[in-house]
């Protein structure tokens, strides 16, 4: 199968869906000729023109609000938020407006809008361009949240996101844009709420999101050499969450670590760990461990920044100790 980058995969998904549905359009800062700072959208304006690939002023609440209004009245906007950190700027439009319209109207209005943005530290971008804020939006009923872990997922999840009738926040890891993966030539979509078992194992379940799937896979390789068999699962969407697949795995392995690049406090890792504890308690041989980003603003200094995110070595170390029956204090 051909291999393409995550960036190309997103680009293909957008182009295919824009060809398929004339009500779709892209709106955001520097999305047209610039193709975004990460060049993910390069070439789209040439095909679809500036009426469907719309450059905006630097007005995040404004253009997200415009996306909500366009979606409410019959279009399918793909709103491009240049950095995930800017989610704070658009919280009212996303969480008070987009998320609640369907419910507040008793099901009469809906907001089929995609907000695509990014996450990920270790790019030396400092505290305001490095955050992984999926927990903020996953907390709000009415929003779906997808976290692609490779080019394959990025394409399939994006196509589903565009066709879904709800606000969907899809967050790509900005360090993965050039990572290649096998992606079929023929069309495919990845359904929401279906986790992917990336690697089967029997001693411990490593649940990773986004690039933490790669971290989990690398940890599983380290562990394999030591005779520990790790199962690696990628939930792919955290809202909706495929609890069944996660529970089934944990009931089999009786141990789990949840790895996500958002802050650990009050985060995705805590939510998933809690569900596993509530629903698989009697199958567990050890507490479900959370591994999120450190609860500090992301530091600039490379030596410090690298300490803040989970690594394969640290995941392997924790897995080793869990399997040895040691108690670990999280964080």
């Amino acid at each position: 199968m051909r291999e393409i980058t995550l960036s190309q995969a997103v680009n293909e998904a957008l182009a295919e869906e824009m060809r398929r549905d004339p009500t779709t359009f892209i709106i955001g800062e520097d999305v047209a000729e610039a193709g975004t700072p990460f060049k993910v959208l390069s070439g789209l304006v040439e095909e679809f023109g500036t009426s469907r690939v719309i450059d905006t002023p630097i007005s995040e609440p404004g253009f997200v609000g415009i996306g909500v209004g366009a979606a409410l009245t019959g279009a399918r906007p793909i709103v491009d938020l240049m950095f995930g950190d800017f989610i704070y700027l658009v919280m009212d439009q996303l969480c008070n407006q987009a998320a609640k319209q369907h419910y507040m109207s008793g099901g009469k209005l809906s907001v089929p809008m995609v907000l695509r943005t990014n996450l990920g530290a270790t790019r030396r971008s400092g505290a305001q361009h490095s955050q992984s804020l999926q927990a903020l939006v996953a907390h709000i009923p009415g929003i779906k949240v997808a976290l692609p872990s490779s080019a394959y997922e990025a394409k399939g999840l994006m196509k589903t996101a565009i066709r879904d009738n709800n606000p969907v926040v899809i967050i790509e890891d900005k360090l993965m844009y050039q990572d290649k993966a096998p992606v079929p030539e023929e069309e495919y979509l990845i359904p929401f709420g279906e986790a992917n078992i990336k690697r089967e194992g029997s001693d411990i379940t490593l649940i990773g999101t986004s690039s933490m799937v790669q971290v989990a896979e690398a940890a599983a390789k380290i562990l394999e050499a030591e005779g520990i068999s790790a199962e690696v699962i990628d939930p792919r969407t955290i809202v909706p969450l495929d609890e069944d697949t996660l529970l089934k795995s944990v009931r089999k392995t009786s141990r789990a670590i949840v790895i996500d690049e958002g802050h650990q406090n009050y985060g995705i890792t805590g939510e998933i760990a809690s569900r596993l504890n509530e629903k698989a308690f009697y199958y567990l041989d050890a507490p479900v461990l959370r591994m999120g980003a450190m609860d500090v603003p992301v530091p600039f200094s490379p030596v410090l920044e690298d300490l803040t995110v989970p690594t394969p070595e640290r995941v392997a170390e924790n897995a080793r100790r869990l399997c040895a029956g040691e108690m670990i204090h999280a964080a």
Partner: protein, 346 residues
């Protein structure tokens, strides 16, 4: 107000509307006032829970504008939204049901006073965040332009909302992209419990003009003047001449919300009485209709009586109506997506 802003007052005699159109405007204004009188009573009698904000006194604004629109034109409304909802064509029954949280309400009782929406008439909904719908209105207008549809969107908001940054972000984009949206600022003199002059520096219309948006300040108590100007601007929007900005000078008879009873610390009873006695939009229009020989007093009295009766019946209906079933609590969090559309090749 800068010299560029156009101030509009209507010449008292000219009107090209039919008798039916005149009476419809009158009826719609009285329907709003009567709706609010009943809603206020429901609240004071403890039959309605929560928060609600009365539109009484501002009727000429909503009616003058909405009578210039069709059902395919959209509006976005505010926390003080009953007036817009009635003016855009909503029924009493579904509205009172919504205010009382009943299943037959426009939003199945899930929205309430501050989130009432009536999609069937193009009302995209009230909004409990001051200024929260400005992006939505502008996005609706962008959708019309992109999809080649000729509807116009009116964004209602108050003078208080002019202090929100979102307004300037979306006016900028609306002007850059020539969107068919009319920003309708209902200046009722008060930003919640504070005089507008204490929260608004300079001129409100000049802010729109800074973006190259044609702006008008108009007497919001004169329904014909509002309607006449709105029609022109709506037509120009349809021709690709938008956006526009209106500052409609009006007055809020009640407090910020129904519980804001003792308000002399921020405005005098004398001032309230002056607006009610001398500038009431319904009294003014009624006298004009009679003076012009368009309607007779007894005809108007009959209309008023009919509206009162309609409201009484709708309130009684709503009071007796069923609440949503408890299984509704987690319905409508997510919209359904037809699984067939999620297949490759579809």
């Amino acid at each position: 107000m800068t010299s560029k802003t156009k101030t509009r007052t209507r010449t008292k005699t000219a009107s090209s509307l039919s008798k039916e159109e005149h009476l419809r405007m009158y009826t719609q204004m009285v329907r709003i006032r009567t709706f609010e009188d009943n809603a206020n009573q429901l609240y004071l009698a403890g039959k309605m829970q929560g928060l609600t904000h009365m539109y009484s006194g501002e009727e000429a604004v909503a009616v003058g504008i909405c009578e210039a629109l069709t059902d395919s034109d959209r509006i976005t409304s505010t926390h003080r939204g009953h007036g817009h909802c009635v003016a855009k064509g909503a029924n009493y029954k579904e509205m009172f049901c919504e205010l009382l949280g009943k299943q037959e309400g426009y939003c199945r009782g899930k929205g309430g006073s501050m989130h009432i929406a009536d999609q069937s008439h193009g009302n995209l909904g009230a909004n409990a965040i001051v200024g929260g719908s400005m992006g939505i209105a502008t996005g609706s207008a962008l959708r019309a332009k992109l999809l080649g549809q000729d509807d116009v969107t009116v964004c209602f908001f108050g003078d208080g909302a002019t202090a929100q940054g979102l307004l300037y972000e979306v006016m900028n984009m609306a002007a850059l992209w020539k969107l068919p949206v009319i920003f309708a600022c209902e200046n009722n003199g008060y930003s919640e419990y504070t005089k507008t002059e204490e929260i608004a520096a300079g001129s409100i219309t000049a802010r729109a003009e800074a973006f190259g948006i044609e702006a008008f300040q108009i007497d919001g108590q004169d329904v014909l003047a509002v309607n006449e100007l709105s029609k022109k601007l709506v037509a120009r929007c349809r021709d690709g001449d938008g956006p526009f900005f209106l500052e409609l000078m009006t007055y809020r008879y009640h407090g910020h919300h129904v519980g804001d009873i003792n308000r002399e610390y921020y405005r005098s009873k004398k001032e309230e009485a002056d607006w009610k006695e001398n500038r009431d939009p319904i009294i003014r229009f009624r006298s004009w209709l009679v003076e012009q020989g368009i309607a007779k007093e007894d005809e108007i009295e009959a209309l008023n009586a009919q509206i009162k009766q309609d409201a009484k019946e709708a309130v009684a209906y709503a009071e007796a109506a069923a609440y949503p079933g408890l299984e509704e609590v987690d319905m409508h969090v997510y919209a359904e997506t037809d699984p067939a559309t999620l297949q490759a090749g579809k």
